[in-house]
Symmetry: C2
Subunit: 374 residues, 2 copies
């Protein structure tokens, strides 16, 4: 096996492939990247317990002298290619289990891993798949996946529930203290289906998707989902089980509605969260609508000090005075995903979930469960 | 005590003062910033076990209504000022031990610390002091302090030895495996003196010094040194004891001299250091001058692979073939502080220290002790 290729082109794809590389694994073969050199292109494959990536690399700089397959220690390989001088790199596999990397005045040898130990991964594209604008899809993930649970006591909640019906795709995530929901319109109609995709897989996927007008294809299978973006195949396992019925968690009647300037609300909550009790993950901040329609944001860390912020709603407030307490981290994470510069918060009652919506964030809703205080 | 000031002006100086703030300390008073409000200026003081900072803050935005002194929790105060909206911040101390911070629509209260617990710090300027261009001094620190020891078994080696004689200031640092030495010419003559300044203090000082044409004043005292830069006083303790005589460590005769392009050598060593044994702090790289005057850089990590780099010297090589092994970290750290684009390495023998010099790095020398290999 011997070929040469433009170094930067190779590096770009190795960095993508690295997203699925295992670093700590009982199976050392998964620390490897499988590189297949075919007649006129390369195939790079990586995999860990949750996701697998396969890249088909064609390039005009690619000059293949002989074909072959090998399993390369992935992290070392990427680090070396990144540090090379020169435009072109030549890779050669000898009869022995060594890979020789030559570029400029460098001559580097890597011990290969045992190719036979690598799992057999199947990246099957289906005949029926869902096609979505990549920017729209990336935004949908960013607006929902952060609400998945990171603790494993209810594994199903570590996933994003995706439901397709006709030309509508809806995504929901909740860790049972908050909920994020976003729906988008698809370019054509699809058969009804649903799946639960691990939040962590989606967070790796968004790092690969670019913010452009291309499309991403989603190929659903029984226990797996394959995303195809340009020359990249991204495979994730699906979570098994029934996702909870979340629609009944969302209140219908909102006696109090307040519209805020998003930036003013954000900075006020950020300041309030500076003076809360130590455990910043559960830093509690209070919000109160006064009878003069001003909103007070307060926090109190008895040993350190206290914050009082006044925020003036945009437009007239609907409803009567209310007091509510919540996790500042949940509030800030939800607020930050809005594209709208004005965000409306709708309250049902002091111990009932409240929701955030924005005029320019169509079909998106963020819900937070208040915290009980004395 | 009550005054108002431009928020950004205050923040800029709090960030400087924070460099000497204790975070983990048995004395909670040292987590405080002392703020003195005088007739027409503020004085901000911070201190930890090694360094103390005092800033005199005068500004046209400063409007003082009443004077006073207080000890403010430093980290919380800086974090709050950083996050405030609005241009101006108003600070008020009531009769109680509270500080009120008002800006825009924020009203924040911090519990003050006990001012009486704060140590009495003296920042005395001397009549005789050394005056140095700040850029020159900053470069001198950057070129020497990294070679100080970080382990405490010989405390004296954690400092930089500074010696003044006439119009010459010389600095030396060594951890006994490497040595950095740099001398500069002063603008006037001074009495002979010497001091050992903790390397860590100097590393904090360089963060405060800007890269401009101002001057820094150095006021030496028996056991302390005071640096004065603009409106900032920076006080460090000195290390006591006799600094080792380092001049005899530096070889005089160099049968082998090789001049390198700095960048080519740097990237070759960086690549070689990718494939060395685990403990990257002592990653050993070998260098050999071949009889054809090419230099080979090699490394070998038996389980992973090996690197061979060829580097072509600039100009003709003096001397005969030689092989030497060294810590790649020490080599790279030394090489990076050169301003010259060509660096000469001079060798005395395979187990003797070698030195690096550069044409445009006047009076600077970096020395490294080789590692013995089989």
């Amino acid at each position: 096996m011997r070929f040469e290729i433009n170094k930067d082109k190779l590096l770009y794809h190795l960095i993508v492939a690295q997203k699925a590389l295992s670093t700590k694994t009982p199976n050392p073969a998964l620390q490897g990247m499988r590189l297949e050199v075919l007649e006129d292109h390369l195939v790079i494959t990586t995999s860990n317990a949750d996701i697998s990536i396969q890249i088909k690399l064609e390039d005009q700089s690619l000059a293949i002298e002989s074909t072959g397959s090998m399993l390369i220690p992935g992290k070392y390989f990427t680090d070396i290619i990144r540090k090379l001088d020169g435009q072109t790199v030549t890779l050669t596999q000898g009869d022995d289990s060594l890979l020789r990397i030559e570029a400029d005045h460098s001559d580097i040898t890597l011990n290969l891993l045992e190719l036979d130990d690598y799992p057999n991964l199947v990246f099957t594209e289906k005949e029926q798949f869902v096609k979505i604008n990549v920017r729209t899809f990336k935004t949908l993930i960013r607006q929902t996946a952060f609400s998945t649970s990171t603790i494993e006591n209810r594994p199903i909640l570590t996933g994003v529930h995706v439901k397709i019906d006709g030309n509508r795709l809806a995504a929901v995530a909740t860790d049972s203290y908050r909920l994020s929901q976003k729906a988008i319109e698809l370019e054509s109609d699809y058969e009804a289906m649903q799946a639960i995709i691990p939040g962590k897989s989606l967070e790796e996927l968004v790092k690969i998707l670019e913010h452009n007008q291309d499309h991403v294809e989603i190929h659903f299978d029984q226990s797996r989902v394959l995303f195809k973006y340009r020359n990249i195949l991204f495979l994730s396992r699906l979570l098994e089980g029934n996702y909870p019925e979340t629609s009944k968690l969302i209140p219908k009647d909102f006696p109090v509605r307040i519209k805020f300037n998003k930036e003013a609300l954000l900075t006020a909550i950020e300041r309030a969260s500076l003076l809360t009790t130590r455990d910043s993950h559960n830093a509690v901040v209070k919000m109160a609508l006064r009878s003069d329609d001003t909103v007070e944001i307060t926090s109190n860390a008895p040993e350190i000090g206290r914050v009082l912020e006044e925020v003036y709603p945009v437009d007239e407030v609907e409803g009567s005075p209310i007091r509510i307490a919540f996790s500042s981290r949940y509030f800030l994470e939800a607020l930050k995903v809005f594209a709208s510069s004005e965000v409306t918060i709708s309250f049902t009652g002091e111990v009932r979930p409240f929701i955030m919506t924005g005029e320019y964030d169509e079909d998106m809703l963020q819900l937070i469960l208040p915290v009980k205080t004395d």
